[in-house]
Subunit: 139 residues, 2 copies
Amino acid sequence: MALMAATQQVKRRATNQGAAVKDALAAEDTFRSAQDVYATLRANGEKIGLSTVYRHLQIFVDDGLADVIHKPDGESTYRLCGDASTTHHHHLVCRSCGKAVEIEGPAVETWADKVAAQNGFTDVNHTVEIFGLCASCAG
Amino acid sequence: MALMAATQQVKRRATNQGAAVKDALAAEDTFRSAQDVYATLRANGEKIGLSTVYRHLQIFVDDGLADVIHKPDGESTYRLCGDASTTHHHHLVCRSCGKAVEIEGPAVETWADKVAAQNGFTDVNHTVEIFGLCASCAG
DNA sequence: CGTCTTATCGGGAATCATTCCCAGTATGAC
DNA sequence: GTCATACTGGGAATGATTCCCGATAAGACG
Ligand SMILES: [Mn+2]
Ligand SMILES: [Mn+2]
Ligand SMILES: [Zn+2]
Ligand SMILES: [Zn+2]
């Protein structure tokens, strides 16, 4: 069989580059771009390459440890999932500083599935992101 | 005042390149990339440059005539709004062929605003897109 | 511990969508 | 018709992301 279960854990080596990327993400509750994470790490004297940053960010997403949001300009931003990482959720994101709050909307989930079914669509998923200015940035 | 109302109509010249781009979009009910529209027009013998295609697609978006959706890979895709273009709406999009259905969800709108307000966010907007396989592509 | 297999690194090249630039062209007002 | 200038388009530039591949280091095993 060529297809493995998506939840199959892959054996990974523990490297300090990987730890550094995770620490960088964990230090902020904001969605951050790969370029930004890379710049921060280098500024802190970390010895790491840009390719490696991209590699680990993608691994986190694959493992369900991080979420990715595409900014309007197309750039990908990443953030570690909170403690409630096991449940499906969405985000309320500050356009200015990137600060994000995990949100849930059961009603939205059922609505999305219903609308899709009514139109004959199957194998559905959805993206729901709310953007705005957080209290700090609004002042 | 440096800021004009977003609804202010700008005077534009009628060019056949602009018409060609609009016709190309109107011919399909799918979200299509600038590159795709460009390739189609050239294949049809239209005399038009890639820059011009991007230019007009952006104009349509600015004028509220078209919607733009960013595919997971980050590429922007465009589609003319339907007759109900005056009302705020979202889309149910086929992952395979790009076919899109305009959908409305009043409950989602109020939910989004409420969640944002509860968390002290202002000047909010949101993206809600449902992806799946249309009936044709599912067979 | 040493050795060995190989996953992981990382720097630079390559890709690719999108934007920029600007001299040439066509629109529409008068 | 004339004219000011909005529009055009081809090529260069940008910038994020991916590729490539020889060098490095994690960790299994004895
Ligand atoms: Mn959801
Ligand atoms: Mn909405
Ligand atoms: Zn903020
Ligand atoms: Zn389809």
